[in-house]
């Protein structure tokens, strides 16, 4: 920033700047004259000016009254004060609105959960009586393929015992995986699952399986791991599922340390898994 606002020039411009000039109109020439003395300009003047720069400071708020209107005309001054007051109120309201919006954004998530009771993605609600009463949709055959994965640090042999199974929505089905611990030490594994395609996953309900709980395999032990599941009958009525004929169920095993518990997925993490629990 150069030009008029360079420090040396500031001395000249602000030299006669004092609030007293508002009290009585002074001549500009009278104000400016001391600033243009020979000592203040030229090489010597700049030195003096620069020296004074270090000591010059703005009049502190204690020395001058708080914000005075900029205009000298008394008629526009009250209007200006009016504007200032209105500006201040508008600004306060805007700030309050902004803070309110921020608060509403934070509050929206728990409020939604409370009011609708849906903890995660919108799912077709299922209860155990639904299983009793559901009617298989016999004309809609779906192929379920199985996939088994193991985390790199887990040395189990984990694989499905059938590559595919054909089910219809509303019919409970059983499938098996097999896991073998070829090492000489007992190993504890814990698994999670995934369903592809994503939208079909919400219709895939497991009645009982081997996931989310520690499974301990002794050395050289091989076990069968069943999955008992069904596809919700509403699957057949969902227009988005019209082209879905293949669902892949994929299980992945990870190694678990002794005594470590995996939090059960879901919003309410206090859920306890028990064999007869109803969700």
């Amino acid at each position: 920033m150069g030009g008029l606002w360079r420090p040396a020039w500031r001395r000249v411009v602000f030299c006669g700047w004092s609030w007293s000039h508002l009290g009585r109109p002074t001549r500009a020439a009278e104000r400016a004259e001391p600033c243009l003395r020979p000592g203040r300009s030229g090489p010597a003047g700049t030195e003096q000016g620069l020296r004074r720069l270090g000591t010059w400071r703005r009049p502190s708020p204690a020395e001058q009254p708080a914000r005075r209107p900029k205009s000298t005309n008394p008629y526009t001054r009250s209007q200006e004060e009016d504007w200032r007051r209105r500006n201040k109120t508008v600004l306060t309201y805007m700030a309050a609105a902004a803070v309110g919006m921020l608060g509403a954004a934070y509050a929206a998530v728990p409020l939604y959960r409370l009011t609708t009771g849906l903890g995660g993605s919108a799912v077709a609600g299922h209860a155990s009586d639904q299983i009793e009463n559901m009617v298989p949709v016999k004309d809609r055959i779906i192929k379920i393929t199985f996939n088994a994965d193991v985390h790199a640090s887990l040395q189990w042999n984990f694989r499905p015992q059938q590559t595919e199974i054909y089910v219809v929505p509303g019919e409970t089905a059983l499938a098996f995986y097999k896991a073998k611990n070829p090492t000489d030490k007992p190993v504890i594994g814990i698994s999670t699952y995934n369903v592809v395609p994503f939208e079909a996953g919400q219709y895939f309900n497991k009645i009982q399986c081997f996931c989310f709980e520690e499974q301990r395999l002794n050395p050289q032990e091989e076990v069968d791991m069943p999955v008992f599941f069904y596809i919700d009958p509403e699957f057949a009525e969902d227009p988005r599922m019209v082209n879905v004929d293949l669902i892949t169920l994929s299980y992945t095993f990870f190694e678990a340390k002794e005594g470590h518990t995996l939090p059960v997925p879901g919003y309410n993490s206090n859920q306890q898994l028990s064999p007869a629990s109803n969700l």
Partner: protein, 101 residues
């Protein structure tokens, strides 16, 4: 499988099973039932509807068995909690009729 690193698109939310987790059948007590079921599946071209009797029998085997668990827990632990078969979706098989389509 979804590489669930795309923020903004929905990610898969696994749900816990309704009736919890199957205890492992360490001693293979229901293995024969499982073998029957697998054989039925292979014979019928992996159609589940034709093998529902075998799956029912496997689950009944699990429910009957009492496994001696470790001394720290309750003396006997079932391989599967007792549930009436209707609740497992086998209501139409209870009278002994098989469901072939």
């Amino acid at each position: 499988m979804s590489t669930a690193m795309n923020f903004g698109s929905k990610s898969f939310q696994p749900r816990p099973p309704d009736k919890g987790s199957f205890p492992l059948d360490h001693f293979g007590e229901c293995k024969s039932f499982k073998e029957k079921f697998m054989k039925c599946l292979r014979d019928n071209n992996f159609e589940n509807a034709l093998c529902r009797n075998e799956s029912k029998e496997y689950l009944e085997c699990r429910m009957e068995r009492q496994v001696p668990a470790s001394p720290l827990t309750f003396p006997f632990r079932q391989l599967m909690a007792q549930e009436p078969l209707e609740k497992l979706g086998f209501g139409d098989l209870i009278d002994g009729k098989s469901d072939k389509n």
